[in-house]
């Protein structure tokens, strides 16, 4: 790193060096056995330079090649147009405090293999016909360092263990499957064989329902998936500035039902996306985004924080081979008031898993999604698993139409973040079946 800094200093330009060293050990499951074990490391370097507000960027995985990388960044800066809104690179003032936990550091390929087999054995002890069809466990470590010409030099290390398994069950030529993912920066919860068995068995035998309007009960995982699309898009200060967001000019105005409050949390240690500083070296924080349905803040990086004159909220995210862009940290919803939402249901579709969430229109909020794992609920009772049901609606509309939320929040790992979200019941959704 010293050589790289020294070489950049000679070029008399403003610079930012972003380096990531990562190390991973993982396995894969295929048909109830550990079919593959891998380990390795990767190093990558991203260099941004600024010449009279003209930005250049290049990256490499070959550290010996850093001079060519710097030359490429300088070349792109010289050929770029000035960015009048460029806020400069990060300045000193942050210090990395996070380290991988002892639990994660102590994990090796043998532990991963042993734990995977325990999960398989536990699941099959619940129902011997269940097959652990795919998935595996991975341990990942990463060390990030940011150095800028403005005096920032911050380094932090992270460790994470993730288990993601697919389970299937065949009965009378009908196959059902479910997937379960758990992630932690400390201790991994591996006791999900019971959940897999119960969810699989509840899916026999699916039935069609009449098309029409139903209440919609979303499991926290499905609510998190919807939030990660339209909510994350709409609160992004760049999308607001670019006139792409439904939340343009909506600051301090109601955007969701008054019972909904959401914060963006980059600091709470036990959550997945918590960091001391974001990818531009800005100290992370807790940002109140939605308060009683009122939009209170967008999330931003240095550039859009400067444009809005409100400063960065510590939401810059990147890899070494990409420029920083705005993304959510951990998404925390305020709990609701109900112990049990099922008893609140008259005639409802309970969506445990949805098909095609990534296809929804994140800007307009329009969606048309298959109910992959869901049940019909009548008067608080589960009637049957659903077959061939599609729900259509608009994200912003249903978020203004919520009737109840659970007291309990679930910690859902999604896109590298933790979503702490409740079960949520919505007044009406259109279902097509047939």
């Amino acid at each position: 790193m010293d050589e790289i800094i020294s070489h950049l200093k000679k070029k008399c330009v403003d610079y930012e060096i972003y380096s990531v060293y990562s190390n991973e050990t993982s396995n894969e499951i295929f048909n109830d056995r550990v079919s593959f074990t891998a380990s390795g490391n990767a190093m990558s370097l991203g260099i941004r330079v600024a010449i009279d507000k003209k930005i250049g960027f290049s990256y490499t995985d070959n550290l010996k090649d850093y001079k060519r990388c710097i030359d490429a960044a300088l070349y792109s800066a010289k050929n770029n147009e000035p960015d009048k809104d460029f806020p400069g690179f990060g300045t000193s003032g942050v210090k990395g405090k996070i380290k991988p936990s002892k639990e994660v550091l102590g994990i090796d390929s043998e532990w991963i293999s042993k734990t995977s087999k325990e999960i398989i054995t536990d699941t099959k002890s619940r129902n011997k016909n269940i097959m652990v069809s795919e998935g595996g466990i991975s341990k990942s470590l990463a060390k990030v360092r940011i150095v800028t010409s403005e005096g920032l030099d911050a380094e932090e290390s992270y460790g994470k263990i993730t288990a993601s398994f697919g389970f299937s069950l065949k009965k009378d030529s009908i196959i059902e499957n479910v997937g379960i993912t758990k992630a932690s920066e400390h201790k991994l919860d591996t006791t999900f064989g019971k959940e897999a068995a119960e969810r699989l068995e509840s899916l026999f035998v699916r039935k069609s329902i009449d098309s029409g309007n139903y209440q919609l009960l979303l499991h926290p995982e499905t609510l998190a998936a919807l939030l990660s699309e339209s909510y994350a898009f709409s609160i992004n200060a760049e999308n607001v500035h670019m006139n792409k967001s439904r939340f343009c000019n909506m600051n301090n105005k109601p955007v969701f039902h008054k019972s909904i409050s959401i914060t963006d949390d980059g600091t709470t240690k036990w959550l997945l996306a918590s960091r001391s500083f974001d990818s531009e070296g800005t100290k992370t924080r807790i940002t109140k985004v939605i308060d009683n349905g009122i939009l209170k803040s967008y999330i931003s990086d240095r550039k859009y924080g400067q444009i809005s004159k409100k400063g960065s909220t510590g939401n810059a995210s990147r890899s070494a081979s990409t420029l920083p862009s705005i993304s959510t940290n951990n998404v925390i919803m305020r709990p609701g008031t109900k112990n049990d939402l099922f008893s609140e249901c008259g005639k409802a579709i309970y969506a445990r898993g949805l098909l095609g969430v990534h296809t929804m229109n994140e800007a307009t909020g329009d969606f048309s999604l298959g109910v992959q794992e869901g049940h019909l609920i009548k008067n608080g009772k589960v009637v049957c698993p659903l077959k061939g049901v599609v729900i259509g609606g608009n994200f912003f509309k249903i978020m203004n139409d919520v009737t109840a939320m659970s007291k309990k929040l679930e910690n859902v790992p999604h896109s590298g973040c933790s979503y702490l979200v409740p079960y949520a019941l919505f007044n009406s959704i259109t279902a097509t079946s047939g």
């Binding site: 380990s39 090649d65 792109s76 390929s109 299937s168 196959i175 990534h358 329009d366």
Partner: protein, 445 residues
């Protein structure tokens, strides 16, 4: 490289392979006729995979210390369970290069930037216009203990345009992508890509949302391609079949659709986006007929599933990068041409929907339920194309849908995309002619 292979064999491995990938990329992103990003970069990764006592182990690094990686891979294999006794294949020695008209490396980033900016003219009624240009060169070297020695220099380029139109409080958007196996000749397609995205985003402001219903539906080449890929291709992947995760398990030789239906996976088409001259396990890409005249004929295999089922590998073992496991993946998957024309299909439809383009899709290969979102749609009234639709999805069950195909046109074309499975993304092609599906479930708002 050969030394590390020899070392692995000396330590008892029955099979070993080394993959080395170096890539470079140029990238230009503009927003509202201004440069947002102008960059270039390179990546490099090396790996060795071994099969030792029937157990797979892999090690990778950005450094090329292959002997150390061989020891690490052998150690990792001990943590795996017995997997397979591999059927060995004949060695192949060949070099492949993508054919291109204009080498992207012959044009400076400055010239590319200038040409792209000239095309990014934003009309007044467009609130935001994003245009991305990229080109990349990926050099893959592969050797294995069978004696195969392969290399592939793959040149690709693409243009993406995402246009947002605004009228009062209403925002609509449309994106258009052009990708090719080729070089800077992509610029010839950029203008049309950008103007299409702009025009369609404005049209979307007046589009109506369809009511969910079951009706006659015509799919275009792109959406039909997604049907071939998502609904049939995934269910034909032998790893899913073997692990009880595909409803096509045990259906080889059985009728699964209308006799008009012929579906193929073909990794041997050099100009197609999913071309694999050799897969990530050194097996040449090939043409595999999955469905012929409505009858399921074959599954797709990597080395492991082929050995487990005493089949031939089909060149479908693909890994996203050298660090990942080569799992069974599609290449270019498509419905073969039928003998109808598009006009005949519209006339036969009478009333229904015409769904075009793909905004993504997902399938549950076990139950056969699928959902694909169209980027645009149109009413069909008395055989004529009517009002524009937005937010329409095609959903259904694989088996029912294949039986409900009534007509297939003779205008097949292949599109480009990326497929995700097990956290890995690989380039794939998919395509179809226009298809008429009776009693299709169309989801709306």
């Amino acid at each position: 490289m050969e030394e590390a292979i020899s070392l692995a064999l000396k330590k008892g491995a029955e099979f070993a392979e080394i993959t080395s990938v170096k890539s470079s990329r140029n990238f230009i992103e503009t927003t509202d006729q201004k440069i947002k990003e102008l960059s270039s970069g390179s990546k490099e990764l090396n790996s060795i995979r071994v099969l030792h006592n029937g157990r797979w182990g892999l090690a990778y690094s950005f450094e090329k210390d292959l002997k150390r990686l061989a020891f690490e891979a052998l150690e990792n294999a001990k943590s795996s369970d017995f997997s397979v006794k591999l059927n060995l294949q004949k060695p192949v020695k060949r070099k492949f290069t993508t054919a291109y008209k204009k080498n992207p490396e012959d044009y400076s980033l400055e010239e590319k930037k200038s040409n792209i900016l000239k095309l990014c003219k934003k009309p007044d009624n467009i609130s935001n216009l994003k245009v991305i240009y990229s080109d990349s060169v990926i050099k893959t070297n592969y050797i294995n203990s069978e004696g195969s020695d392969l290399s592939y220099e793959d040149v690709t380029s693409g243009v993406l345009c995402w246009s947002f139109a605004k009228k009062g409080d209403k925002i609509e958007n449309f994106f258009e992508i052009e990708r090719i196996k080729g070089g800077y000749e992509i610029l010839e397609r950029a203008e049309n890509c950008i103007s299409t995205a702009i025009k369609k985003s404005i049209m979307m402001l007046n589009a109506i949302t369809p009511k969910g219903c079951v009706t006659n539906t015509v799919t275009d080449q792109k959406l039909g391609g997604v049907l071939a890929h998502e609904a049939i291709g995934h269910a034909c992947e032998a790893d899913l079949v073997l692990s009880n995760a595909s409803l096509l398990h045990g259906k080889l030789g059985k009728t699964i659709g209308n006799k008009l239906v012929n579906i193929t996976d073909n990794g041997s088409l050099p100009k197609a986006w999913g071309y694999v001259p050799f897969d990530s396990e050194g097996i040449p890409g090939s043409r595999t007929a999955l469905v012929e005249n409505g009858v399921l004929k074959r599954y797709l295999h990597n080395r492991e599933t082929a050995s487990l089922t005493n089949s031939k590998p089909t060149g479908n073992g693909r890994a996203m990068n050298p660090a990942a496991k080569a799992i069974v993946r599609m290449t270019n998957t498509y419905f073969e041409n039928g003998d109808s024309t598009f006009d005949e299909i519209l006339n036969e439809t009478k009333n229904g929907y015409y769904l075009k383009g793909s905004a993504g899709g997902q399938v549950d290969p076990a139950s056969g339920e699928f959902l694909f979102n169209a980027t645009e749609g149109y009413e069909i009234n008395n055989g004529e194309i009517g009002r524009m639709l937005k937010g329409a999805s095609l959903t259904g069950n694989i088996m029912q849908t294949l039986h409900n195909i009534k007509l297939i046109a003779n205008d097949m074309s292949l599109g480009t995309g990326f497929c995700g499975k097990g956290g890995q993304y690989v380039p794939v092609g998919d395509g179809a002619p226009h298809i008429l599906i009776e009693k299709a479930r169309v989801g709306g708002v």
